[in-house]
């Protein structure tokens, strides 16, 4: 439990941050990041609406609405005309939608800021909502859900299946893009109503960074003040049901290799001292796309089983495409995740055992003093690479405002100095476990895998190439490592049936 003094301090920080950014009754809020040496100006217009606001049966509505603002015509210009105006500036704007927030983003050279701002505000204030644009976006999303999500990137699919399982029956419990059935049911009127409800002056914060003139901020504020007043009703925090033992969903699909994702909810957010302690432990266990990751070392480096193996203590968007986490996907409910990149189909059970065994090993033994010192030193420098640009720094500032905390990345650097090995090992025991987890696997012959999993059958590993004796000896232990998965906790789903609800 936090001390009373710390709690008060956090409340004060939260209040100060809130005053710094949130909308007051007399106008739109702003988050400013002046960078006089940056010749560009970056915009992140934050609307406090996300896929958690999708009405039941209309999942995907927040994303579709954002697309109809950021990639469609306005009352003044068709989308084609907008593209032609933006093109010579090499500028663009777009939208990112996560569970809790929608951010309209844009970046332009200061030479062109006035023309760009005009287009951007017009898009937010006066979207045309034409049937033609709506049809284009709706068809694109439907095609993505029908043809791409489940059929062209098994890693992304596996992750989405994991999130779906962890957050089932909560507002977080569907892909941001929606479901094949729900998107088909969305009408243009749904989009208009959603826009009028959520794109209000009381629900927006202007994020602006770079070499901007203060008058630009006032101009934007005045413009967005023209949005309808009001603050929409808040969505209750997603509180997922904790897993009961190991619960697995096996997607039966003709695959050449198998994607595996493992996870469970954790009640831990940025700003909490334990978050930074667990960050150190997690970095050692599974630093994203980094050979310092212990899981990577065990599964890829020593055994050559796949391309990489990582772990996370908060949502990491599009991990297959990014080296560092993108901002503006903050959440009130987080989760722990292990991502095992595709392994040969026949190695699935072994890889699963290896990863869970390593996690349990960390819980049982804690970090060593040497690993703690090395990882802490690594992170202190590594976080400096997280937000090198004005645009990313602005994104992180918005996330700080969401969490009501001071600068997260600076806090991290300080925390890494202040935390002790005991802090880290205490956090590991408090938040990590292997008894109650969700697992999503995309694989061929899922029924056979189910039988192997529920019988805890040995899964001896064979290699095409020689391995050192110590690896082969350890393999014997991994191959019989008990997972204790109950038959009723394993569901096999044909790929064509996934997300079809």
């Amino acid at each position: 439990m936090p001390s009373k003094k710390k709690t008060i301090a956090r409340l004060l920080v939260a209040c100060v941050c809130a005053i710094g950014w949130s909308q007051m009754s007399w106008g739109v809020g702003t988050i400013e990041l002046p960078v006089p040496t940056d010749p560009t100006i970056t915009f992140r217009i934050w609307f406090k609406v996300g896929s958690q606001n999708d009405p039941a049966g209309k999942e995907g509505l927040a994303s579709l609405t954002a697309a109809m603002i950021s990639n469609a015509g306005t009352m003044r210009d068709s989308y084609d005309q907008i593209l032609k105006k933006l093109y010579p500036m090499a500028a663009s704007y777009g939208a990112g939608v996560d569970k809790e927030m929608t951010v309209i983003t844009g970046r332009v050279h200061r030479d062109n800021v006035n023309a760009f701002t005009d287009l951007l505000t017009e898009a937010i204030l006066h979207p045309a909502f034409t049937a033609e644009d709506f049809q284009r976006h709706k068809t694109n999303v439907t095609n993505y859900l029908d043809k791409t999500l489940r059929y062209s990137n098994d890693e992304a699919f596996g992750k989405e299946m994991l999130y779906d399982a962890i957050f089932a029956n909560t507002p977080y419990g569907h892909p941001d893009a929606g479901l094949p059935g729900s998107v088909r049911s969305i009408t243009l009127d749904d989009v208009k109503n959603f826009y009028h409800t959520h794109y209000t002056a009381g629900n927006v914060v202007i994020g602006i960074g770079g070499n901007f003139d203060p008058s630009l901020v006032n101009r934007l504020k005045s413009a967005l003040d023209a949005l309808p007043p009001g603050v929409p009703a808040a969505v209750a925090k997603s509180s997922p049901k904790p897993p009961d033992g190991i619960e697995a969903v096996l997607v039966d699909k003709e695959t050449k290799s198998t994607a595996i994702s493992i996870g469970f909810p954790i009640d831990l957010l940025r700003g909490n001292r334990d978050f930074y302690a667990l960050w150190i432990a997690n970095s050692w266990l599974g630093e994203h796309r980094n050979s310092s990751s212990h899981l990577y070392n065990v599964i890829r480096e020593k055994r050559g089983m796949n391309y990489g193996d990582y772990s996370y203590i908060e949502y990491y968007p599009a991990g297959w495409a990014r080296q560092f986490p993108a901002p503006n996907a903050p959440r009130r409910q987080q989760f722990f995740e292990i991502w095992i990149r595709p392994v040969q189909n026949e190695a699935t059970h072994f890889a699963l055992r290896a990863a869970i065994r390593e996690l349990q090993g960390l819980i049982d033994k804690g970090m060593s003093a040497e690993d703690f010192a090395l990882t802490r030193g690594f992170l202190k420098k590594y976080v400096r690479h997280y937000a090198p640009t004005t645009d990313l720094r602005l994104g992180y500032k918005i996330d700080d405002a969401f969490y009501g905390i001071p600068d997260h990345l600076q806090t991290a650097e300080k925390m890494f100095d202040a935390l002790t090995l005991d802090d880290v090992n205490r956090a590991i025991k408090k938040y990590l476990q292997t008894s109650n987890m969700k697992i999503a696997i995309i694989t061929k012959d899922a029924q056979a895998l189910k039988q192997a999993l529920v019988s805890d059958a040995p899964s001896p590993m064979t290699y095409a190439t020689p391995k050192p004796p110590e690896v082969l000896e350890e393999d014997k232990t991994i191959a019989v490592y008990p997972l204790k998965i109950r038959p009723e906790k394993v569901v096999v789903v044909p790929v064509d049936s996934t997300f079809m609800r």
Partner: protein, 445 residues
Amino acid sequence: MRRWWVALALVAVYLGIGATVAKATEKIFPYAYQQTVLDNGLTVILIPMESPGIVAYYSIVRTGSRDEYEPGHSGFAHFFEHMMFRGTKKYPGPVYDKMMTSMGADANAFTSSDITCYHLEVTTDDLEKVMELESDRFQNLSYEEDAFKTEAGAVRGEYLKSLSSPGFVLRETLLNTAFDRHTYKHTTIGFGQDVEAMPTMYEYSKSFFNRYYRPENVVLLIVGDIKPDPTLALVKKYYSAWQKGYVPPQVPTEPEQTTARHAEASFQGRTLPIMAIAYKSPGFDPDNITLAACQLLGDLAFGETSDIYKKLVLEQQRVQYLRPGFGPSRDPGLMSIYTMVKDSADLSAVEEEIYRTIEQYQTTPPDEARLKDVKSAIRYSFLMGLDTPGHVAGNLNYLLAIGGSMDVVDRMYAALDRVTAKDVMDAAKTVLAKDKRTVVLVEGR
């Protein structure tokens, strides 16, 4: 040793792109840089810029899958990228990894058809240590056969992962169909059978390293919070002992294509039909007006502001996307148009629409105002991507790999500026010729 300073008129005016656009004939690259060629042939490019405490360190090997000319060895450049992380006798892989970890380095590598690039972002304090480590592994790489075979397993995993993407199947089929002899025939990861055979190629891997990982074939690019002279002194300290010995690959010349080609491939999963229409294009030459005109032509004819984009994507909505891939390659390569068609029944109509667009550009010069817009967009896009050391190095590395020297940057953009509407029409006629065309279609189940 050759050495020169390039002090540009626009040094202080990364802040002033407008001026650059207005005076289109001026050099585009806004930072001062120092380029030096050491006695052993290593090209060193140092670009100081404001970036408190951060340095981007790029070792650019001018070898990619293009250099895999020996049958049965496709995919080796990429595989070798993996092996470079296995360390040396002085700093074995685990020690190298631990030192990188202690530095908090953002370290990675990538391979394409023309380049293998090892890139790090580190703090300035760690620059000398990084230089010691990187120079050591480029000169003294050492790994055992078992480690080599284990890494082959990781590469196989990467190959299998790629197969779950219809885009990869399209690319693999396109290259295999369009090229007969040149090594662009295979993708960077290699032919499947060659990837399977990699574990048996230990001895070959050492030969690959000895021939290609030589100073004459490498550009060392360091950008960020550095002082050029002391940095160059460090480079000399750590790299001067690296011995020459580059053996150029015997990359076969592709015979001239004389008839149009067509291929279809099936994707085991679901996908909307994807089509590539590609034409043989000239190899990289920064001064080549035809090549420059092609780069503009791609955006003019098939970019987001083109008439066909408006018609097929926005109005008729018959395609999910339409995009040009008209960038340069070191050797004669492909200029490609990619599209995803929503209904198979529309494939022929979409294909014909693309041909009609090409015919239009072959017979009518583009509108001057649009040509100006494309030039403006290309320049702003380049300059806006130079805001951090990592972005500067990220934007330069490919040009340096195919051009070998910083001057190609300004020369290429100068050529883009010189392109006239007639040049665009002439390029459309000579490059987008029917006989040099390859069409590939991928459909799902």
